[in-house]
């Protein structure tokens, strides 16, 4: 990847993380940990990959994103706001009465949200339906479904995995965010879904592994995904829950709780320092 582009992506991803913390802090509830672990992924998709138009969010031939791990809506909202789908200030109204931004994605109320999600395991089925519609219409769009590693404990995910492979939905890419933690603890200790790669492989998917926080590797993975025919693609991304906020990293207690005033300040200081450094490096 071109160094200048990579730097730009890192800057954008940092702004996305700032948006996540702003939103969850103001809401006083929400899911920062898993939002931070997919911030780089969504930044890459919306900056480099997706054919979407913020002025025409329902454009029929657009690429679709289904956030199957819907509780990580703050990451999606932050990316959509920065991409111009709606005003940035909406982030600060997350989860409040009368707000556009619901606790989990609402396709009816939020421009850029392609599917209402939140109940785990359901988004991937809807994504498969969208991909099937694309095949029936010979449309060129792609559908990206983002799943949690805990989420794939849901049986419906594997019904969908079977369906997508059977119907050769090579326009469907499922990204599994393997941060290793779910509400009750480590995924390997709660009810292990491992090995994830072997499972998708056995279900007939083309499987790619990816470092979730390295844009060179993200680019490699998505480039590979585009070369696959007749099979859906599963990208298993190894990520860090709470990425780039030191006290949130790999700490399961940040799955679903908001920072208090002091923690908010600490988190924002870390992110702003990172942003300043990145901007300085960009100038150099």
């Amino acid at each position: 990847m071109d160094a200048a582009i990579k730097k730009q992506l890192e800057i954008t991803a940092c702004k996305v993380r700032i948006g996540i913390i702003e939103a969850v802090y103001n809401a006083k509830s929400g899911h920062p940990g898993g939002s931070l672990s997919i911030a780089d992924l969504l930044t890459y998709l919306y900056s480099m990959k997706l054919n979407v138009d913020p002025k025409n969010p329902k454009m029929p031939d657009r690429d679709r994103v289904v956030l199957s791990k819907g509780h990580c809506a703050p990451a999606l909202y932050s990316v959509l706001a920065l991409r111009g789908f709606f005003p940035y200030d909406e982030l600060k109204k997350l989860r409040k009465i009368g707000a556009m931004l619901q606790g989990h994605p609402d396709m009816k109320g939020t421009p850029g949200v392609d599917m209402s999600t939140g109940s785990l395991g359901q988004g991937i089925s809807a994504a498969a339906g969208m991909a099937l519609a694309g095949k029936l219409d010979s449309a060129g769009y792609k559908v990206y479904a983002v799943l949690g590693d805990g989420e794939i404990e849901e049986g419906q995910v594997w019904e969908a995995a079977m369906f997508a492979a059977h119907n050769k939905l090579d326009n469907l890419v499922a990204i599994v965010d393997n941060n290793g933690l779910q509400i009750d603890g480590k995924i390997t200790e709660v009810c292990s879904p491992m090995p994830i790669t072997d499972k998708f492989d056995a279900f007939g998917w083309h499987v790619i592994t990816m470092d979730a926080h390295d844009f060179d590797d993200i680019e490699r993975a998505f480039d590979e995904s585009e070369k696959i025919n007749y099979k859906p693609v599963a990208i298993i991304q190894t990520s860090t829950k709470g990425r780039h906020i030191s006290f949130m990293e790999n700490n399961v207690s940040w799955h679903g709780s908001a920072p208090n005033d002091e923690q908010y300040k600490l988190a924002m200081d870390e992110l702003n320092t990172r942003l300043e450094t990145l901007l300085k490096e960009e100038v150099l």
Binding site: P60, V66, D106, M107, K108, D114, M115, S116, G118, S119, G121, Q122, G123, I124, S125, A126, A127, A128, G129, M130, A131, L132, A133, G134, L136, D137, G155, Q156, E159, A160, M162, F163, H166, N167
Partner: protein, 315 residues
């Protein structure tokens, strides 16, 4: 005298889908390995490229239906009522109901008339479940004519629709020549002033038979067919409550949460009156021939007439 013709509404469903397939080239039909039983096989035969078998995976099927409909397709998703409304309830609620997506759910083998398969497959809870989903239209047609018309009407409804069909051949009571289906409108089949019998699905013909019996005894029963359980035609129901003072409801469904409950909820708000429910009395069914089961569980004209005789004493 007219010859009594009988037909299962699942056959009507299959035939109507096959007809609609030629009208709408964006109509997609999904099934979960039951095409031969739900009769979507008729559509599959005519339009194989637009028929998707999802296998024995109803949860995924409902989600796929949502994704197809969100991409502009007209989608019918079919299975037995037990699995469409029961197993897949939460997917119907969250992936179809909450975003108010244009998916039509064709649920066959509803009620106790499934027969020999027994309690595991006799779904007497689906209307109750579907009624709780905001924006869900629920249609439970009485016969072949009504079922076909309902399927065609459902295509034009904006939002999710739950269509309920049966396995058992039931009498055709409507006249195809002058039949007109209006979603959300109750149908006055017989006027009367002493009592109102409000029925849905295969219980409508039983209600008409009960009204004949009652007429011979000097009880003048009004009969209303409620094919659309949601949205409910409150006007025709409240008018009946006001004018006849007592209501008997009849449905092939649990007495908890179905037509009887909906009617009772409606009249308590407009004109409180006794509502006596004929339905499955909070028990599971069991195996046996459908006709015998209907009698055993009180889903008969005889039981409706008996309840009506009692109901008029409450006035």
């Amino acid at each position: 005298m007219d010859v009594l013709i009988k037909k299962a509404t699942r056959d009507s469903y299959g035939e109507a889908l096959a007809e609609l397939g030629s009208v709408y080239d964006d109509l997609i039909v999904l099934d979960a390995d039951l095409a031969a039983a739900t009769k979507t096989g008729m559509f599959k035969k005519a339009y194989p490229e637009r028929f998707i078998d999802c296998g024995i995976a109803e949860a995924n099927m409902m989600g796929v239906a949502a994704g197809l409909a969100a991409s502009g397709k007209k989608v019918f998703a079919s299975s037995f009522a037990m699995f469409a409304a029961g197993r897949a309830f939460e997917i119907v609620r969250n992936s179809i109901g909450y975003p108010h997506i244009n998916v039509k759910i064709g649920a066959t083998h509803a009620g106790i008339s499934v027969g020999e398969d027994g309690a595991s497959h006799q779904c007497n809870e689906d209307i109750a479940l579907m009624r709780t989903i905001p924006g869900m239209t629920i249609i439970n047609p009485a016969d072949d004519i009504e079922a076909k018309a309902a399927v065609k009407a459902a295509v034009d409804i904006d939002g999710p629709v739950y269509l309920r069909f049966g396995r058992l051949a039931v009498p055709v009571i409507n006249n195809a020549e002058n039949y007109k289906f209006e979603t959300g409108r109750g149908v006055l089949l017989r006027d009367g002033s002493d009592i109102t019998i409000i029925a849905t699905g295969l219980m409508v013909s039983e209600a008409l038979n009960a009204a004949d019996t009652l007429a011979n005894e000097g009880i003048n029963a009004r009969v209303i067919n409620i094919h659309t359980i949601k949205p409910l035609d409150r006007d025709i129901i409240c008018k009946a409550a006001r004018e006849t003072g007592v209501i008997v409801t009849a449905e092939e469904h649990s007495v908890i949460g179905g037509l009887g409950s909906a009617i009772a909820e409606a009249v308590t708000e407009c004109c409180p009156c006794p509502v006596i429910k004929v339905g499955v009395n909070d028990v599971f069914g069991h195996s046996g021939p459908a006709a015998d089961l209907l009698k055993e569980f009180g889903l008969s004209s005889e039981n409706i007439a008996e309840k009506a005789r009692y109901a008029v004493t409450l006035k």
